[in-house]
Subunit: 394 residues, 2 copies
Amino acid sequence: MRVEDIRYASRFDGITGSAIREIFKLIAQPGMISFAGGNPSPSALPDDVAARIAAQVLREDGKRILQYGATEGYPPFLESLKAYAEQAVGRAVPAVLPVTGSTQAMDLLCKALINPGDAILVEDPSFLGNLQCMRLYQAKLVPVAGDEGGLKLDALEQAMAEHHPKLLYVIPNFQNPTGRTLAADRRPAIAKLAAKYGVVVAEDDPYRDLRYTGEAAPAIKYYDEEGWVVFLGSFSKIISPGMRVGYMAGDAGILRKCTLGKQSSDLHTANLTQAIVDRFLRENLLPDHIARISAAYREQMEAMVKRLESFPAGTRFIRPEGGLFVWVELPEGLDALELLPKCVERRVAYVPGTHFYAFGGHPNTLRLNFSNSTLEQIGEGMEALRAVLEEALR
Amino acid sequence: MRVEDIRYASRFDGITGSAIREIFKLIAQPGMISFAGGNPSPSALPDDVAARIAAQVLREDGKRILQYGATEGYPPFLESLKAYAEQAVGRAVPAVLPVTGSTQAMDLLCKALINPGDAILVEDPSFLGNLQCMRLYQAKLVPVAGDEGGLKLDALEQAMAEHHPKLLYVIPNFQNPTGRTLAADRRPAIAKLAAKYGVVVAEDDPYRDLRYTGEAAPAIKYYDEEGWVVFLGSFSKIISPGMRVGYMAGDAGILRKCTLGKQSSDLHTANLTQAIVDRFLRENLLPDHIARISAAYREQMEAMVKRLESFPAGTRFIRPEGGLFVWVELPEGLDALELLPKCVERRVAYVPGTHFYAFGGHPNTLRLNFSNSTLEQIGEGMEALRAVLEEALR
């Protein structure tokens, strides 16, 4: 038999790969200004400190770091991580689990909970990488309506009552892709609804430390009395995505099931990257580092927003209070997917918004990232984008 | 609703966690001599070199290493890995994919291929970690009979014809747990059977460089003309398991599907650990390192085997040509599971063989690891084990 006649698993039916990652390849050309992706700025990546710390932890605890570790995590990191997670959610958490990027957290939650056909409630739009993860578990994606304050509570309760979902996936701060922040008064309500209907909430909060304006609201997890909320954290946006260190914090039973799943996923997260993040926490390097990168990101965000203000009439956008993204709605009739090749010709790229909707549509939307471009590139790229739009409207 | 009333996914029905990892915890007491596990010797873990290399790669390519990487792998490593994999299998391979330990390779192959109920052919006994992975994909495990030369070809062909499996899982060299090596003349035959019946072969070969005696036979992949064999390699046993770097080598279509699955599993393997392994390969550090650790492991293996020769009459064991394990059959009537607590009392531990059989049974078998104990510990631990057996036979 020819290997081309191989029978793949049906979970891949209709799965074609993350649109963002395909766009990445398309735009990996010199001179391209990329507002696609969600990469930290190169200047935000602490290579010197990481070099020093990597050598140090390997010299001090190298035999343990290079040996098999526990699926539950590298012991010193478990300690510093628990304190860090408790500070993030504002209350004690029963358990934490280091994972190989918060990508793996979503995978493990689906592995623990989802049978084919089980419903997952999602914001609409939402992070497409995790939507793809859910699709690979053959979940039934149920979009829940939102507004400028994020998920609408009446729509959420109705969806819970109607679809008996296993999981609600929500990005409360500077949401990907919209940049929106979940209103403070909806957070305790979501925790209550989760307990009322027995729905696990995956509270995915990778951007929370990147706030440029406004006041932080407590996490949904802060209001969680019953244990249904699992908080997903990440060091990708504040230290390094290439190290693949994220974590889950929440109910010990749920995390135990995820640990069991992780045994067969990758046995454990690399000890070395856990040890490096541990040292960042123990040396208390994060506050200054975050202050420095936030100041720069804020400038970049302001520069992008300022340019958007002079975009063609009918263009709308959301000014975020933090994070990495600005969400744009083009004048009705324009199609961001169709315009992308024209933009790439002019050396600027973004992600069409349609990819972030569970069922597509919304052709006039797009997501812009500002963290991975200099102020100069933002000026130039936004100018190119504006020119393409004006041409299209002519 | 109380979180205790959570509904987990049915893939976990009957899954209780890896027996080895639970035993690990039981025996994590000071003074315990552990023949359980498959840990490299602490002296085989190159902490000084890793410290030097980690700092070096972060200084030289830190911005790229700390940034998001491609799911396909860290570019310099892809290059050195391809050459390494081709040398391992003895022929050109169309594609390689770095993975987060070869644990992830098995997970991705199951993700790519297995629908619930699909058959996977396995050696009996086989590596229990990967058996658990297959169970989590709700595969139907079909054990195939073997003898001192590994899988029996007639039994294998019959199982392929009868069960239409998606996958055959085989560890050709110094198998885990038996230490057996697949006979040279069965290897081309297995490649042919795979193509005849359209079965993907997962050729899991983490121990191949740890040969202490005898001649290496070519990999099954060496004889693979059609692309059905996927070679799974690992740097866990020859550099460091804690770094979680393994790889897959084979057909580009199959690896593309695994890459798609990996996007949602952990996005990519940590760039830093890939870069460290890359540097090990480029500096050509492996041949000397492997020679050094093999010489030590060989002594440890000989010491263990020598002790086994004076075990009670009726004890049988397999003298391996390499790897990390010695497989023991106790005299009929003894139960390795029952005897384990008695052994732990005497500060020695092993893994009962029954855990390695897809359907259990074989109570009189056990697996001994020699790589993680000194010669003195091997002497002492084997003496304690012998004493427990003699007492049980009295």
